[in-house]
């Protein structure tokens, strides 16, 4: 199971890093989402992987899983969800305003600055 989880995190991170290095906003946002999925699974695994164990005190339970990473992941999920919504809205505004969805500064604008 460790191997499976570890390689899943690795694949997600690789794809995420590749996509965030693209030039247009949509792939970059997709890449950011993949990276946040990867980090969520990673955080979850930071409390060690245990199967079928309760996180809080229960009758008859002998082993427990670490509850703290689950709380951390919950926080991280909520934050990354909100942040993704914000970045989608801002980049949509930028795209609709200037009819261009590149993340970097446009070369024409730099040229016009020279001409001024």
């Amino acid at each position: 199971m460790e191997l499976l989880v570890a390689s899943a995190i690795g694949v997600l991170t690789t794809a995420g890093v590749y996509l965030t290095l693209r030039l247009r906003t949509f792939p970059v946002i997709l890449g950011m989402s993949l990276l946040t999925y990867a980090v969520n699974v990673f955080l979850f695994a930071s409390g060690r992987l245990t199967i079928g164990a309760p996180p809080i005190l229960s009758d008859g339970a002998t082993t427990y899983t670490d509850p703290l990473p689950q709380a951390l992941v919950l926080t991280a999920i909520v934050i990354s969800f909100g942040m993704t919504a914000v970045v989608v809205m801002i980049s949509l505004g930028a795209y609709l305003g200037s009819d261009d969805d590149h993340v970097d500064d446009p070369i024409e604008a730099a040229g016009s600055e020279v001409r001024k």
């Binding site: 950011m32 946040t36 951390l72 934050i79 942040m83 914000v86 001024k116």
Partner: protein, 514 residues
């Protein structure tokens, strides 16, 4: 345990929704509450500084849960100093925003401003590293809103870059926290300090990864080369009062580096030794050089100031990465100086924009209010370039003095002095083109929409300069205080024992429960 220390976080947290919900369409009421809130914050911050000025550490356990299990807020001399600096800066920035009507050009400026303050103050006061992440996110999400305040295509484009860069930073932060938790099983900073010491020499892989990732995250915040690319366009495109408030945001990164790397990964820790001398110091030197070359190369006044911020952060990071008590003391003195000077310069750039409609460094006819603005720019440029008699000069002197025993001393001196010269030339060029050459340019009809900046705008900038002058006049006292802070940071037993050894609630178990 007093409740005072949580008030700087709770007050803006309640004020912001109140402004949104109750005073949404009344800019006058918003202004009154916003200014009153910031004044109250200054009072609170001053009382916190006074409480810890004898070297004690105040702390607050949320819900009274004992330290490594519950979240704690901790105020020592370093964090209360930063809180006071933030609150004072916020007051003048807010006065400028009101005086220049920036807060009217879009909605919810004051609410976002309060949320931003909540995030910054929380980041300074928290004693839990995951909580630090949460407060980083609060200050970031408020800053996204402020950054694109008043809209415009250029601003939105710069906003996208800013948001994406910071999202990557947040993701790295989470990876670092996961690695740290997996290795130590705790996220309380004081507890981490104890547990990281106990990690065996053969198991340091996770710790080292976490240390480097955290340094990257904080370096993104502090805009250290090569992680500075987000700063010039976002600070230049942000509304002026927002850019001025952002002057403290880079310092949040510097604060986090000082806090985490004196406490959790101290320089004598073998696993992370060399992180500063080998990596951070050269990066800081390059930051200073690139920032000041950017000052010389900029074609617009706002870019020029953004690059001078990068340069001044380079100076701060040089002092920090020496990692001696003298270095940290010099860094703290310079942090206060460069926050005030950077904020003032961004506001002055906006005075120029108000007067003549653009910020291009070309000769144009004299603007409205040109003499006053020119005088203020002159003072601001002296402060930022680090010429006597203002505190930038003293700060630079302290940094040079602290680097005297460093192995890279020659490099530090050469680059600091060379960069100063370049920045003096850069600021002199900008000032003479914008203000001096204007006098020889034939008058044309004034550009539509330009006007003389309001008196309150000038007063806000003047207030920042008054603080800078006080920072210079009382340099001996301030530096004495920062020296005490630095000594306390390197011998943090009081902090650890206050947080870890004071008993708190462990469990509410009553009879009959488990």
């Amino acid at each position: 345990m007093t409740h005072w220390i949580i008030l700087p976080i709770v007050l803006p947290a309640f004020l912001a929704p109140f402004i949104v919900l109750a005073a949404r369409y009344h800019i006058g009421i918003q202004r009154v509450f916003s200014v009153a809130g910031v004044l109250a914050l200054i009072g609170l911050a001053a009382s916190l500084v006074w409480q810890v000025s004898d070297g004690s550490v105040i702390y607050y356990r949320l819900s009274n849960w004992a330290a490594p299990f519950g979240i704690v807020l901790v105020g020592d001399r370093l964090s209360t100093l930063m809180v006071l600096l933030t609150a004072v800066l916020a007051l003048f920035v807010l006065l400028y925003a009101i005086g220049s009507d920036w807060d009217k050009r879009g909605r919810n400026f004051h609410a976002l401003f309060q949320f931003q303050l909540m995030g910054i103050l929380g980041a300074f006061l928290t004693g839990d590293i995951f909580n630090l992440f949460v407060f980083f996110e609060i200050l970031l999400i408020a800053s996204y809103g402020l950054m694109i305040h008043a809209g415009g295509n250029e601003r939105l484009r710069a906003g996208v870059q800013y948001v994406l860069f910071n999202l990557i930073g947040s993701t790295l932060f989470l990876f670092a926290l996961g690695a740290l938790y997996a290795e130590t099983g705790t996220l309380n900073m004081a507890d981490l300090a104890v547990r990281v010491q106990g990690v065996g020499p053969e198991e340091t892989a996770g710790i080292r990864i976490a240390a480097v990732l955290l340094l990257l995250v904080f370096a993104i915040k502090a805009a250290v080369v090569p992680l500075h690319f987000w700063l010039p366009s976002s600070y230049a495109e942000a509304p002026a009062p927002v850019a001025a408030l952002f002057a403290i945001m880079t310092k949040v990164g510097a604060y986090a580096i000082i806090r985490v790397y004196t406490m959790i990964f101290p320089p004598e820790l073998e696993a992370t030794a060399g992180l500063f001398g080998v990596w951070l110091l050269p990066a800081a030197l390059v930051s200073l050089a690139i920032g000041m070359i950017g000052v010389l190369a900029a074609r617009k006044l706002d870019r020029l100031i953004a690059f001078s911020i990068i340069g001044s952060m380079g100076m701060v990071m040089i002092a920090i990465s020496l990692f001696t008590p003298e270095g940290i003391a010099a860094a703290l003195y310079y942090i206060v100086h460069s926050t005030l000077a950077g904020a003032a310069l961004f506001l002055i750039a906006d005075l120029v924009r108000t007067g003549r409609g653009n910020l291009d460094l070309t000769a144009q006819p004299p603007m409205a209010g040109t003499y006053m603005t020119a005088g203020l720019f002159f003072v601001g440029a002296i402060a930022m370039a680090g010429l006597p008699p203002l505190s930038g000069f003293l700060g630079k002197l302290l940094v040079l003095d602290a680097s005297y025993d460093s192995a890279l001393m020659v490099w530090v001196w050469a680059i600091v002095l060379g960069a100063s010269l370049i920045s003096v030339v850069g600021f002199a060029r900008a000032g003479s083109v914008v203000f001096w050459k204007a006098l020889g340019t034939p008058e044309t009809a004034p550009v539509e929409g330009t006007q003389r900046p309001s008196t309150l705008s000038y007063a806000a900038v003047g207030g920042l300069f008054a603080l800078l002058i006080a920072h210079t006049v009382f340099a001996g006292k301030v530096h004495g205080y920062t020296t005490e802070i630095a000594a306390e940071l390197f011998a943090h037993d009081t902090y650890l024992s206050t947080v870890l050894d004071t008993p708190g609630k462990l469990s509410d178990a009553k009879e009959g429960d488990h």
